[in-house]
Amino acid sequence: MKNGHPSAKKDSQEPSTANGTTLISYLLGGLAFWGGIGWVVDWALGFSGLFLPIGLGVGLVGSIYLIYIQHVRS
């Protein structure tokens, strides 16, 4: 929250409901996108279940990193 910004006038308490919704959106988004990429790569290259777990892992790590950046570190 920078000084002079509209948000600077906000009350300090951040509604936790929003955080909950955002966290779920990040987790679903990460798993769906990178898991989806992994699944497509598996399908295109003729593998079965090789890149899908890798994609899911990348998505999960990316999601948790985003949650950390947006809601823990700030």
């Binding site: 910004h5 509209p6 948000s7 600077a8 006038k9 906000k10 009350d11 308490q13 509604p15 409901t17 929003a18 919704t21 955002t22 779920i24 959106s25 990040y26 679903l28 988004g29 990460g30 769906a32 996108f33 990178w34 990348v58 998505g59 790590v61 990316g62 999601s63 990193y65 985003l66 950046i69 947006q70 570190r73």
Partner: protein
């Protein structure tokens, strides 16, 4: 619940300790009424009880504001006081906490949204025969409201920060090293532009859907278990009345609880709308 429940358990003679006719729980048929007027369009539900109840909700909201504000005074009476209490609550708990002073211009929208959603939800508790269902248990209604907020979120973001600024603010988190961006930008895109509006709509729909189904189950079970004239004897007849009373108590307790949930869900929908719009005003995060 009355005519709402079109299930076998409600047919005459189908009771516990009866002639072997089993209980059939109410299902999704509660939420798929036969249309009175069918437009013949694929995917269109036609004119159903939802249509009528949504129109009734609009009338109720208009009437509320008409009767509470038509003789507005500096020192409010009871009716005006109720309306002011609602506006004050949403200003202090929703718009000011998420958007600061700037949120005041969105207060009329938030108050209207809250009251409209709450009224649509409460339609599930008003025993109008054949019409008793929360309007928000039809996915179309939360979907349109969530779509409206989504469009508003984009319009405000683009007007404040330009199209590039708005999209960049939503896709590129600040303070992230450039080499991680290829991993997190697609997650941000999917999360902010698709999953978040979807969850905004589904949360309201699913909670109201499940709540109404639970109430219907208690009502149907109470009816099924009421068999004082059981052919298996008066003892089992008395037991069946006891069972039925338990179901009735459950029904009453959950009805009160459901009223609370209806208010909470309307509040959460408005709170999330306010947070999203506040985020669009703020820009980069």
């Amino acid at each position: 619940m009355g005519a709402d429940l079109n299930v076998a358990a409600w047919e005459p003679g189908c009771h516990i300790f009866g002639d072997g006719c089993g209980f059939e729980a109410p299902g999704t048929e509660l939420f798929n009424p036969t249309p009175w007027v069918d437009f013949g369009l694929a995917g269109a539900a036609g004119v159903t009880k939802y249509y009528v109840l949504a129109a009734l909700s609009v009338v109720v909201v208009l009437a509320f504001w008409y009767f509470t504000t038509r003789r507005a005074k500096v020192v409010p009476g009871r009716a005006q006081g109720t309306a002011e209490l609602l506006v004050g609550f949403l200003r202090d708990q929703v718009t000011r906490t998420t958007m600061g002073k700037e949120g005041d211009k969105f207060l009329p929208l938030m108050v209207t949204l809250f009251l409209f959603i709450f009224t649509m939800n409460v339609m599930g508790l008003i025993p109008i025969p054949g019409f008793q269902v929360p309007v928000t248990t039809s996915l179309a209604f939360p979907a349109v409201l969530a779509l409206f907020v989504y469009i508003l979120w984009n319009v405000i973001g683009i007007r404040r920060h330009g199209a590039v600024g708005h999209i960049k603010a939503r896709l590129v988190p600040s303070g992230v090293p450039a080499w991680i961006l290829p991993v997190v930008v697609p997650i941000e895109a999917l999360s902010n532009f698709i999953i978040r509006p979807a969850t905004h709509m589904i949360r309201l729909f699913a909670v109201m859907f499940a709540g109404h189904l639970l109430l219907a189950l208690f009502a149907a079970a109470g009816f099924y278990m009421f068999n004082p004239m059981s052919p298996m004897g008066p003892v089992l007849g008395a037991v069946s009345v006891g069972y039925s009373a338990i179901a009735l108590i459950g029904f009453l307790v959950f009805t009160v609880f459901e009223l609370f949930i209806m208010a909470v869900q309307a509040y959460v929908f408005v709170l999330l709308s306010s947070i999203y719009i506040g985020e669009a005003i703020e820009g980069a995060h």
